[in-house]
Symmetry: C2
Subunit: 453 residues, 2 copies
């Protein structure tokens, strides 16, 4: 029997082909038209877990199913809860994809498809790392409970109730998650924080119907103008969120972490050029990495009102919609931010329109303690697979379930990601490096070995 | 032989059926998919002019054709240039129409369809008024040159060059246009002004592609946030346009006109309730009729950015678009407003984005002198047909060709409209009263008679 690393080297072609089959299933959780595909992705994943040697169960919820894989054959060894998600973001705007979003296409050492990085590709690395142990030694070095959900991109509405109701079954010593980036190519990282999220839809309503902007312009408030003034009021001229009390709960970070951030090999000019923006922007007084990791933000994610086709239509629209979200940092609370946002919007709404706000999504920020044997094992595994010790980094995105898992299961979470910055997460042309598929699986196989040693 | 009025009474059913055939042709000039329909509407109109006893010619342009109808059989009598347009606004949002936009449907004494009021229905009243004279007397009381264009809703790009190149053929004593409203049901009106228009598309561009709002939020400017701040900067907190020098050329009206406006039977509360808005809004210090007739405005006509589908997508969009237009009053000039707008946007654009502005449409405002025999004849014709003398009123909308006709042909324009306020011009469920089809044709037949007497 080969060792797990040799097995991975031998089977890598098959591993990739299987992953590409997984990526071909358009498991877009936010879109009801894709419900059958989300189900199909869950069933496919359960079958792969079985093939790897785990038992599997598809747990139905009021939304998309949770896939649970288990192996309990190492009494006395630690139990690792692996978490990932098999749902993906919508692929639009479709016309900006170079190759189809659900047809994995290799170019320049990368594979392009929706879900390569977030999170099907990374989730699948765990399945293969476990298979490598089982195939080469007939057992796993640790006990495993694998939880894969299909609703991460819509706020995990059914996962927390599931975790609450299954604390004993999910009891573990470590929560292990691969849904994040490395710091750079060949520079792996361990995450020290994640931002939280508060996501809203704002609907401004004016007259009973669209009106002619000549016959009525000047007589009634225009919901699109009103929406613009509401959105503009969300920032001050220093790039700070201008909602009263928004910063009340923001923690100031310790000097050591700030020094570690400052020491990272980041180049603003290179970053700016890669994004093709005239200049970087954001909250004044903070560096770029601080702004995306440890400072909160407010972004408009969508705008729609009136006539948006070609040419001119002189309509005075009767409604205007914005999707608006806040990235939160420790210790901001989405529920409190929702209250503050609603109060602020009510205070700045101009006369003549009504505003409705829907809460679409909320998740708390998370802060890790980068200490203990699991973190040491992860540092060693990354160093062996990549030849470089990992750096500490923050995560700008949100994985709301992390803090819920920690609280419910009373175990620490370890976030170990293999995507690259700039991998077009949630955007057209999402990609994953082929070499990171290989090194990611190897890192995880090494880590499982060390955790069980 | 019957007199023209009796002929109209006899033929009214046929007149309506013909109009409905005209309305069934979806002659949306702004949408290239409807080019064939715009052509079909022109051909249909030319045929109806021939049937009424005029010669007709379809004059091709680089866009949609101009239909010219002529009758020159009254030497010594005045020549009237009739102008109208056979193109219509796009019908969207389609799902807000109670009956299909291009299937005329009678309900509650009205006919509903795109173009009933603006302007096919009113244009067609002239064809039938002329037919009534020809059929009942074998001749027209005046010489007529009828100019119907198919590009009014896209800024009449080919009409002014046509008028300039055909001044002799179009030479006339009066320019007669029916493309406006009455003041109220059974209260006809003569127009003393029209507002002009400057219409722009504003495109804000950020990074090379859409980005993940977690991974990049805070590092780069968000074009949707930037657009909101640009749009919010267009008004001050008193509802005035906040572009420097915007009001420089706005004329103050004479006390007599202001008194006439104040004397009109307008009720703000009734108007507010009809529009179903919580309160009226606009520039402080002016009454509602002043705000829509003699004060300039700025309205956002469309907004589009990022994700606008159901649910949440945490995208940081890389572009945002707004359609923005200004209604102008005498003596504002669209070219100068375009310059001022561009300067202002450049001054307020936040760092980190680029902005492109397209001029989509421009038209000068117009001010009438309500004097002379043609205006007297119109007052008498309206009084005979409606039983009420007309009131003077302003027009909030724009018919840019009016001032061009006046200047090129050195003749006064008379604007005499038969649509009703609230007829959903440029909006879903556009309508025209059935009784106004009848009284409109009769008014025009009486007017043509008086002009030739």
């Amino acid at each position: 029997m080969p060792d797990p690393i040799s097995f991975i080297d031998e089977q890598l072609g098959r591993f990739r082909d299987e992953l590409y089959d997984f990526l071909r299933i358009p498991s877009v959780s936010t879109d009801h038209e894709h419900t059958a595909s989300v189900q199909a992705a869950a069933a496919w994943l359960a079958e792969r877990m079985e093939a790897a040697g785990l038992t599997s169960e598809l747990i139905e919820t009021s939304g998309h199913p949770i896939v649970v894989g288990e192996w309990r054959g190492a009494p006395g060894a630690p139990t690792v809860l692996v978490y990932g998600h098999y749902d993906v973001q919508p692929p639009d705007p479709l016309d900006e994809w170079t190759s189809p979003p659900f047809e994995p296409t290799e170019r320049d050492g990368r594979v392009y498809a929706r879900g390569t990085a977030d999170d099907k590709g990374q989730l699948y690395m765990h399945v293969k790392a476990l298979e490598a142990h089982m195939a080469s030694t007939g057992a796993l070095p640790v006990n495993v409970v694998f939880v894969a959900e299909g609703e991460e991109e819509i706020g995990s509405p059914n996962l927390v109730p599931f975790v609450e109701a299954n604390r004993e079954r999910l009891a573990c010593d470590l929560i292990l998650i691969s849904d994040t980036d490395m710091f750079a190519e060949d520079l792996p990282a361990l995450l020290f924080s994640l931002r939280g999220l508060s996501y809203f839809e704002v609907n401004v309503k004016g007259a009973r119907s669209d009106l002619h902007s000549g016959n009525y312009g000047g007589a009634v408030a225009n919901p699109a103008n009103a929406l613009a003034s509401i959105l503009a009021s969300l920032h001050d001229d220093r790039g700070r969120v201008a909602i009263p009390h928004f910063y009340d709960d923001v923690v100031e970070w310790d000097a050591e972490t700030l020094e570690q951030i400052a020491a990272l090999p980041h180049d603003d000019e290179e970053y700016r050029a890669d994004l093709a923006v005239p200049e970087l922007a954001g909250e004044r007084g903070y560096g770029t990495l601080e702004r995306i990791w440890i400072r909160p933000t407010c972004d408009v994610n969508g705008l729609l009102s009136g006539y948006t086709g070609p040419g001119a239509k002189t309509v005075l629209p009767n409604k205007a919609m914005a999707k608006v979200s806040f990235r939160l940092v420790p210790n901001q609370d989405p529920a409190r931010v929702s209250d503050l946002f609603r109060l602020h919007v009510a205070a700045v709404t101009p006369p003549g329109v009504t505003v409705e706000i829907k809460d679409l999504h909320g998740g708390r920020p998370w802060k890790a303690k980068l200490e203990g044997p699991a973190y040491d094992a992860a540092r060693e595994a990354l160093k062996e697979a990549y030849g470089t010790a990992p750096v500490p980094m923050g995560g700008g995105g949100s994985i709301p379930i992390v803090i819920d898992f920690e609280e419910q299961l009373e175990a620490p979470a370890l976030l170990l990601g293999f995507a690259q910055p700039g991998c077009n997460l949630h955007a057209p042309n999402e990609w994953l490096r082929l070499v990171d598929i290989e090194k990611g699986i190897k890192t995880l196989a090494l880590l499982y070995g060390k955790l069980g040693a």
